[in-house]
Symmetry: C2
């Protein structure tokens, strides 16, 4: 296999490489990102990896890399994926999701490259959700309510046009919340895990966690199950189709906090900071993964408890490294 990996320096990419190193030895990978990866590419000893620092907004760079590498597959992970950040910088959110994708598919079209593209999208595209229509199937009407969500819906509409109108081989996802070791702490579960470990290491008697609305329910999937789905879709997904990538289960943030605390053997009290409660936020978002299960035989392999335990281990090691 010969894969171009955009968003190479990110969390999902790292886990994709971990998986490929075991499952698909000999794979050639060219990684693109604006930032140097923090991981060592030589550590993936079974893969043949090259990294190219480039901005996908720069059409000439995209063209050059595609022409030189001629990938069979493009896994388009590149994204500025924070909803909160998209409200602060909507222009940047739009161009760094929609326009970067447009540059990739347009160069593939213009050069008539034969390759399969996996266009990674987001559950945020669903936007405003009616609880009586859960779990969300791919046929649900999209009502995007943030700049990030709009950018992702635009990307998906472009994917369909390039697939149906120009016969490009594009498979699309709507990926729900990821969790897993190595996720940055601006993501909620990662942040909780880090804070709870710090509490467990400095017992003061007052284990108070400040959070937003912890009653909201989301569909969390371990990143290692996510990347398995991506590999399956690259190999066997149907062109022009959209697939939810999700666990199919809803968990409240509070349930997650309590499970993490129980794994650490501590008690924790959650205090709500009204400033962190987002207005008009959906109470409950759960996806249906029926389509990818039935069409491709995918199923999550990592239990919720195992995910949380691995996230705690990651932070234990990380905090030890920092303090030593």
């Amino acid at each position: 296999m010969k894969i171009l990996l955009t968003g190479f320096s990110g969390f999902v990419s790292k886990h994709f490489l971990d998986m490929m190193n075991v499952k698909e030895p000999g794979t050639e990978i060219i990684g693109i990102a604006r930032e140097q990866p923090t991981f060592d590419i030589a550590s993936f000893e079974n893969l043949n990896i090259k990294f190219c620092r480039a901005d996908l907004l720069d059409k000439a760079s995209v063209d050059k890399i595609l022409s030189e590498f001629q990938p069979e597959y493009i896994l388009h992970l590149a994204s500025v994926s924070s909803v909160a950040l998209s409200w602060q910088t909507p222009y940047e959110s739009f161009v760094n999701n929609t326009n970067i994708f447009l540059n990739v598919v347009e160069q593939v079209r213009l050069n008539k490259f034969k390759c399969r593209i996996l266009s990674v999208g987001s559950s945020e595209e669903y936007g405003e959700v009616s609880e009586d229509l859960l779990p969300l199937a791919e046929t649900y009407t999209l009502k995007p309510v943030s700049p990030y969500a709009v950018a992702r819906v635009s990307q998906e509409m472009l994917s369909k046009i390039y697939a149906e109108g120009y016969d490009l081989d594009i498979v699309m996802t709507r990926s729900f919340n990821h969790i897993g070791p190595g996720q940055k702490e601006n993501f909620v579960i990662s942040s909780f895990a880090k804070q709870l470990i710090q509490m467990s290491q400095h017992p003061s008697g007052k284990n108070i966690l400040i959070a937003g609305d912890v009653s909201i329910i989301r569909d969390f999937l371990d990143v290692r199950d996510v990347v398995e789905a991506y590999l399956l879709l690259l190999k066997n997904g149907k062109s022009g189709e959209i697939y939810n990538i999700c666990s199919g289960h809803g968990r409240s943030l509070n349930e997650i906090i309590q499970t993490l605390a129980s794994q650490l053997g501590i008690n924790v009290t959650v205090k709500t900071d009204p400033a962190r409660v987002r207005p008009n936020e959906n109470k409950k978002v759960i996806g249906s993964n029926q389509k990818i299960r039935e069409e491709l035989g995918w199923a999550p392999k990592i239990s919720f408890e195992e995910s949380l335990a691995d996230i705690l281990s990651y932070w234990k090691n990380k905090l030890q490294e920092i303090s030593s």
Copy 2:
């Protein structure tokens, strides 16, 4: 009034200026376009017009013009509005519809300008249409099927985000097919009118018009009624709302050809060129104008026959000018 007019050098802008010159003397207008207008701005003697040649993709230019002029209203007409062209150059279609609009609203947001924006969109946003759901109301689910349509839906989604999320004062339209004197001949009715006049002036006995599928039915509205709707929406439209701009009537291309021929007193035979028949084109598209009628009291004033007669007059004069 102080209006910034994007797409200043175009067909709709010219008719907007004609109307403003009569209805709103004293209005200050700054026009932006990439191309110099072909009309003489001094001819609008009741208006105070400045023209600024600029590209809306250039954020610095947009910022400078907005800061210097501080408009009360922005009528955003700028667009590369051809569906056919969008299939040839999808990248250009996207950036010259969606990204130019994003640049305008983003500069308004960043500078906290207080002004009302009319975001002109297109009936193409509806895309694939079920005939049993005609006429199309604004609540109809969008299924865009061309690069141009995707660009317009993206623009509209951004409009909603900027209106609802940032409190910008934005009114949106979905404008159906325009007709009227001065329209370029890459638009179907204008092209028919020109060819029929040439036939009437060179009677050969064989009046054969080569066309695509002339059985398709569309909703045509005179551009002079369109610009009246735009002025009303700038003044009294509801912020965050979308309005169809249409006649509410469907006319087949064949009916239009026969009406034009009858006004010219000639007979014409239509021959179908299979190369001009677009695959998967909707047979029938008709809009509902109930919302703008009921909320704003707008109604079309120019009859269909009058529109066609004026288009014929325009081409008679134009062809005379060219030949003399």
